[in-house]
């Protein structure tokens, strides 16, 4: 069956669709019949003929890095389950998709749920899990129903349940809905939430999920897109799969572009094969008419901002070169070398019509609202940062407030149980470092040393 996409929803020629092959496809539906008509679940059957360790080895060899944010190699993560383990092993699909700027898992869940389920069953087989959960954010109510229907269909066809396809392998998958908290995207917070508690992240060590996760048993938590890739690694083999992308940044990934471009959307590309400039100007149709680039947040709102006009050093030794924002290859290592991160693949483009103070204030509002409150620096600091930028956008901040803002951020970073502390402080740290003059321009020198009035205090406290 040839692949035809809906009119106006055709992939860009620079795309390389693997996981998103069936997204926006003409005549495609999320049923198991449709999925099986194109070889669906064949890779599961193939995996079941292998030893679990052989599947893990394939994923390791492919170099698949987690698509949820941290970019940690999935196969290595699986390998952290203690070899002498006698406890049950669990697998959780992280479908919390909560990092601002990210909107890829939504489409997989709604339009191609069986791809995810097949990827999960193969992964569960590899790690020896007989019980798995899909932790889906509460704000995807339709997605939860679609997944439950897909699970039921897979059950009826014998791809789930007892003795899957006569292999002796048993697996149940259940859908678990979150309740609107960003922190549940953090894997240990997610686990607490799945245990029916407030999602306070656990400290690592000792609570590395692969050793002590759900119910203190070995637990593998992987993102939706990561689990989908497992199926494709099975299909073409780790060797061929790792030929896409580039070394240490293998495969394809979905970049989600939002903000000030002509064609925001999701684009699956080979990792590192497009530059920021190609992504913005070619794939996304460029900036809006008459506008110039001001900044890009390249990997979800937690990623450090990149300023237009900045130069970055990438490569090592003789390969080292200085590049502009336009020439940054969109891969894990290059974005890290540029001082930011590929994160969750959410690219937010900001043009010169935007006030930097307003953008930072919006981000600070998010983190102040979403801090779980467990660690003092983060609970207090995220709110202080929000209060300062609240004043900044209201024209009631003094120039020294910008130093205070930076100091608050630097007192969160590295002082919390989980990475939310970094997520909350990196935007402020990088905005202050790169846009100090613009932030200062929004302050009022006459307010230096003046105590903010009671009205502002009340407004700021009223989250």
């Amino acid at each position: 069956m040839s692949v035809i996409y809906k009119e106006g929803r055709e992939p860009h020629p620079r795309e390389h669709r693997v996981v998103f092959k069936n997204i926006d496809r003409e005549g495609w539906d999320p049923s198991i019949e449709m999925y099986m008509s194109e070889g669906g679940y064949d890779q599961l059957n193939k995996a079941l003929t292998l030893k679990p360790g052989e599947v893990t080895d394939e994923v390791k060899k492919a170099g698949l890095r987690g698509r949820g944010g941290a970019g940690f190699p999935a196969g290595v993560k699986w390998g952290f389950i203690p070899p002498n383990n006698e406890k049950p092993v669990y697998l959780i699909c992280n479908a919390d998709e909560s990092e601002p700027g990210t909107f890829k898992d939504r489409y997989i869940i709604h339009q191609d749920p069986h791809q995810l389920i097949e990827g999960m069953v193969i992964s569960c087989f590899a790690v020896g899990a007989n019980l798995a959960y899909i932790y889906i954010r509460e704000e995807f109510p339709e997605g939860a129903l679609i997944l439950e229907k897909a699970i039921e269909e897979a059950h009826k066809k014998g791809f789930l349940g007892k003795d899957i396809q006569g292999s002796g392998f048993d697996l149940e998958i259940y859908v678990h809905r979150g309740a609107g908290a960003y922190i549940c995207g953090e894997e240990t917070g997610l686990i607490e939430s799945l245990e029916g508690k407030r999602p306070y992240p656990r400290i690592k060590p000792p609570y590395f999920p692969a050793a002590m996760g759900l119910y203190l048993c070995p637990t593998i938590v992987n993102n939706v897109e990561t689990l989908c890739h497992v199926k494709h690694i099975m299909k073409i083999g780790s060797e061929a799969w790792s030929q896409t992308g580039k070394p240490n940044n293998t495969g394809t990934r979905i970049l989600c572009v939002s903000g000030d471009v002509k064609k925001p959307g999701y684009y699956e590309v080979q990792v590192g094969h497009v530059t920021m400039g190609e992504l913005i100007n070619d794939i996304c149709g460029g900036l809006k008419e008459g506008r110039e680039l001001k900044a890009v947040i390249p990997g979800g709102s937690s990623a450090k901002v990149l300023r237009a006009g900045e130069t970055f050093k990438i490569g090592r030794g003789d390969d080292e070169k200085e590049i502009s924002i336009w020439d940054i290859p969109m891969d894990f290592d290059s974005l890290a070398a540029c001082g930011s991160m590929a994160g969750s693949g959410g690219v937010i483009v900001i043009d010169d019509s935007r006030s930097i103070s307003w953008v930072l204030n919006n981000i600070n509002n998010f983190y102040a609202h979403e801090s779980c409150g467990q660690c003092t620096p983060c609970r207090e600091g995220s709110l202080w940062m929000k209060k300062i930028t609240d004043r900044l956008v209201a024209g009631k901040a003094s120039p020294s407030d910008i130093d205070t803002l930076d100091s608050v951020a630097r007192n969160i970073d590295g002082r919390t149980i989980c990475a939310f502390g970094e997520a909350a402080s990196w935007p402020t740290e990088s905005f202050v470092a790169k846009f100090r003059d613009e932030l200062i321009a929004d302050t009022d020198p006459e307010l230096e040393g003046v105590v903010v009035n009671a009205e502002t205090l009340t407004a700021a406290a009223n989250l």
Binding site: T102, A181, E195, G196, F366
Partner: protein
């Protein structure tokens, strides 16, 4: 009004609890979701009922209700609207969307608090709150009306008219 969980709802809840063979406590979120879906919000009775059902102290349920933004302790309107407030949607006009939705539905948000961020129209038909990132940043501004998702919302009149 007396608090009563209909038997079909209780059956559905009992079935959900079986999804957690290791620990019944894991079913706190799904039980609360089922109750909130039925009653519109989570009353003290809902908390106590959940606690009894799962053999927990009520505080173990209440602490969950008060933590998660997805759980409400006050009654919303007949149709509850959640407008995405986060960056990409805000850049696409979600604050303006919030303003015009409130304007058309006659909702006054001046009394909202951190504990109860929901404002209800005087006729009780619509209620509204801001939500953080709804994960559709490419099609902002977006909102949820009940369980219905709406993207690139520009015509507020036609959006509200879908809800009689």
């Amino acid at each position: 009004m007396s608090f009563e969980v209909p038997s079909d709802l209780e059956n559905e809840i009992d079935k959900r609890i079986t999804h957690y063979p290791v620990s019944k406590r894991s079913a706190v979120l799904p039980v609360l979701h089922a109750l909130q879906h039925h009653f519109g919000y989570l009353s003290e009775e809902s908390v106590e009922w959940t606690a009894a059902k799962l053999e927990l102290e009520p505080i173990k349920v209440l602490e969950v209700v008060t933590f998660y933004p997805g759980f409400r302790q006050e009654a919303p309107g007949k149709y509850h609207i959640r407008v995405c407030r986060t960056l990409s949607c805000a850049m696409a006009g979600s604050y303006e969307l919030m303003e015009s939705l409130c304007d058309k539905a006659g909702i006054d948000r001046s009394g909202i608090t951190h504990r109860n961020p929901i404002a209800v129209s005087p006729d009780g038909k619509f209620s509204i709150e801001f939500a953080e990132c709804l994960a559709s940043c490419g099609t902002g501004p977006v909102c949820l009306v009940g369980d219905d998702f709406h993207e690139t919302v520009s015509d507020v009149d036609s959006l509200l008219s879908q809800y009689p």
